[in-house]
Point group: C2
Chain length 336, copies 2
């Protein structure tokens, strides 16, 4: 069977969850990724240096001693975050702070509404060399317009903190792609796998599909096309952040209505097929494993993983969590 | 307590279902409506004169002998419908034929893709004085654009059959309102209660809410505003067709993802509050009980029902089906 060996992924946006779920989902990420930026919207959230150390410890414990995987830790930039707190977080190894506007996604009820009130925090992050990761949706705006409505805030922060590295997370619109391309080099965007595949129609165009429901919601076909073009273009402002977000099936298929797509199990096979389809396979490694590291000031990761051309069907569930592309036949599988 | 007595509703679009579900949902419609146009997308569908007679019999049996309610029967306009069949359906008391484009909603897998191929059927319907009810969504188009993409088809049929009465069912967009207003008097639109209340954000703006998922999907706030303006304006081209569409909760809250909102239990209380809020209460009866009858060539219904100003909370379910506005406090209740 045909093999290709590729550099391991740096997944610059992942939800690893906690406790039992952490140990179930972590192997999928650790098997394909050299590093991953671990989101802090756990329950309770990662707010302080102690929270960060404790969460990293639980991840390392779940990994075991032989794992070839580095979690890049983040904290939640909340109305309670202080410049001193930022410095302590940096000292304990934080890579980035993640800002959630109020109420826009899972566990963001305590999020930010007044973005200007946090200027001292951005200042401290800029001085400490921490990256500011933005969930770029404006609260209170119609869902399909939330990301576009946030772009003026992104532009303002980027203008006022020219040395602060800022990532617009999980961009979903052609407007966001255009905005990020037009901003200086301190601004980049992460792109998920699922937003490169799906549109709003995958959520509700036929029957309602809770497993394609995520925040930001997938947009129009022309938006998806702009994301694919950005991902495969070789522009270093766009790199992978999967936003893999596992929820138990019972919390997706019910009136709980949890948002999130669990893409970790299919990251490399799904991306490999997509880049092949668009005749841009040479841009895959830059997108998955170079541009993110470069933006974050990290050395290239030196691990590789083998992909084998060996058809398989994505299972309906892994430990009670439905993966992205469940039921789909994939051409490539990751060597175990 | 304050009472108002209003003319009973003519609900010009309702799904009464079959068997056990029929007997559970019918009392809600029959209690508030003098007449209702009963949709034919049952399993199997109402395609022939025999089907129509049989379905009407099962509705009358479920009603019982003392009911003050008249079901207006429809048939499915399908690729197999013939002009002769149309005449037989008319002879057996059909009021309208309903055309479902292929795959756009529940039980429409056998729907129409070539609208022109049915011109002999429209001709027979025009001659027979039957109304053509259109599910106005173009298959294969992005969900948010399906209704707009259908409007050119509506314009063509209206132009080619100037004596055929045509209803664009459950209009959801400002574009559809504008289109229908600009067409001659043989074209009208029905409006649902839920599309006067909700937007896409009620489906997915926060957590995913399967109970607000319906076809056509609810659109943008400015679309809802245009529908409310049309409903309350006194323009006789716009009248109530609730599209009340009950599904068991287990078929909504799962990966079955059934489309439909069950509004029958709250029709009058919800509409009364809405028209009051917009200071157009004098337009309520024309919308619910005059314009539809007039378009369909029916005499005004002569029954009334009392609304009592007596706060109640819409229950979470009636016989396993979640009603529209479940959990909401309503000011008015229908006297039983």
């Amino acid at each position: 069977m045909k093999h290709v060996r590729v550099r391991k992924i740096d997944d610059m946006h992942v939800h690893l969850r906690q406790a039992g779920l952490l140990s179930k989902v972590l192997p999928h990420t650790a098997g394909q990724c050299a590093r991953a930026l671990v989101m802090p919207n756990t329950t309770p959230a990662v707010l302080t240096a102690d929270d960060l150390v404790s969460y990293r410890t639980s991840i390392m414990d779940a990994l075991g001693p032989d794992a070839d995987f580095v979690p890049l830790m983040t904290f939640k930039v909340s109305p309670s975050t202080s410049p001193d707190g930022v410095r302590r977080l940096k000292d304990k190894g934080a890579t980035a702070g993640k800002l959630y506007p109020e109420g826009v996604t899972t566990n963001s009820e305590d999020g930010v509404r007044d973005f200007k009130s946090l200027y001292p925090v951005y200042e401290a992050m800029q001085e400490s060399g921490l990256v500011l990761c933005l969930h770029g949706e404006m609260p209170g705006v119609f869902s399909m317009d939330r990301e576009r409505a946030f772009l003026s805030t992104l532009r303002e922060i980027a203008r006022d903190f020219p040395e602060l590295r800022i990532v617009l997370e999980h961009a979903t619109t052609a407007d966001a792609v255009e905005c990020v391309m037009g901003l200086p080099g301190n601004v980049a965007a992460s792109l998920t796998v699922h937003h490169l595949y799906i549109t709003l129609d995958d959520v509700l165009g036929d029957k309602l599909n809770p497993h394609a429901f995520c925040k930001p919601i997938a947009k129009r076909p022309e938006d998806r096309d702009a994301l694919v073009e950005a991902a495969t273009s070789g522009n270093p402002k766009f790199f992978l952040g999967s936003d893999s977000a596992p929820h138990l099936i019972e919390n997706k298929e019910c009136s709980c209505g949890a948002a999130g797509v669990y893409s970790a199990p299919v990251l490399l096979p799904a991306l490999y097929e997509l880049f092949e389809k668009h005749n841009r396979i040479e841009m895959l490694e830059p997108f998955t494993s170079q541009f993110g590291a470069s933006f974050y000031g990290l050395p290239l990761n030196q691990s590789t993983v083998a992909l084998i051309e060996d058809e398989w069907t994505v299972p309906d569930q892994y430990d009670g969590v439905r993966p992205f592309l469940a039921g789909k036949k994939m051409r490539w599988r990751v060597a175990s």
